[in-house]
């Protein structure tokens, strides 16, 4: 009984992932639709493996998450561009203005994907690089330790929290 129940629950997710995999195939094949007969089983296999590796979590608030992504993408693009500009400015500067330090930043995000997304995002933003996690603290390396990095990091944390529809506001 419970097996049919879980099957009913995962089947739509599997179908969605199959569709996504087919879309990715179309992109890889640069729009060539001749290999559809070959793509169908391969995409299904990829979708099945992804179900094993990325377990679907129950009860997500999709509208909240979509809104989170819509806000996150421009934020991320703009800030990673600024990150590049910041590094370029320092690299071309004759005196190399750097004031290095490592801070410990206590995270409010839950474990798993939200934390990973936060750490990876931080590494692409201006002046910050995540080094490691220790307990609930992220060790973050700063190129310029003279200012206060906390407001910027809090902002990233809020944006990432919105991506997953989880709390990160504190």
């Amino acid at each position: 009984m419970s097996m049919t129940h879980s099957l009913l629950r995962t089947l739509p997710i599997l179908l969605w992932r199959w569709l996504l995999a087919l879309l990715l195939w179309w992109v890889l094949a640069e729009g060539d639709a001749n290999g559809l007969a070959f793509a169908l089983p391969v995409a299904l296999l990829a979708a099945l493996v992804s179900l094993q590796l990325l377990r679907p979590s129950a009860g997500r608030r999709w509208r909240v998450i979509t809104l989170g992504w819509l806000r996150f993408i421009p934020f991320f693009l703009l800030n990673s561009l600024l990150g590049g500009v910041d590094v370029a400015r320092r690299a071309f500067h004759p005196r190399l203005p750097l004031a290095l330090c490592i801070i410990r930043y206590p995270l409010n995000l839950p474990e798993g994907w939200p934390r990973v997304a936060f750490l990876s995002t931080v590494s692409l933003l201006p002046g910050t690089l995540s080094v490691k996690m220790e307990g609930d603290e992220a060790h973050i390396h700063l190129l310029d330790g003279s200012g206060d990095p906390l407001p910027a990091l809090r902002r990233v944390e809020r944006r990432v929290a919105a991506l997953f529809g989880t709390g990160g506001e504190a």
Binding site: L24, G31, V87, L124, L129, S130, V131
Partner: protein, 98 residues
Amino acid sequence: MSVATLLALSLLAGGLFFFIAGTLGLLRFPDQLCRIHALTKADNVGLGLLSGSLALLSGSWAVALKLLLIWLLVMAAGATVAQLVAASHQAGREGDRD
């Protein structure tokens, strides 16, 4: 010259600029963690602008999406690699002190 080509050329120039900046950072920055900063940020922006330029030139949606996909892959790999090397470097330093 059309507007799209002009835009593509300026994106290309921007991309090259960031690649050069990344290499310069790799050569000039004084310690390892800073060099990781230089690589992850400058190179990813460089490749992003380059992909954007080529997407405009190719004039095909599928190719543009494929370039985007490759860029995303490189970015995900870059962010992961940066953390792995940084953590490994840090662990090595702490090991030396003991």
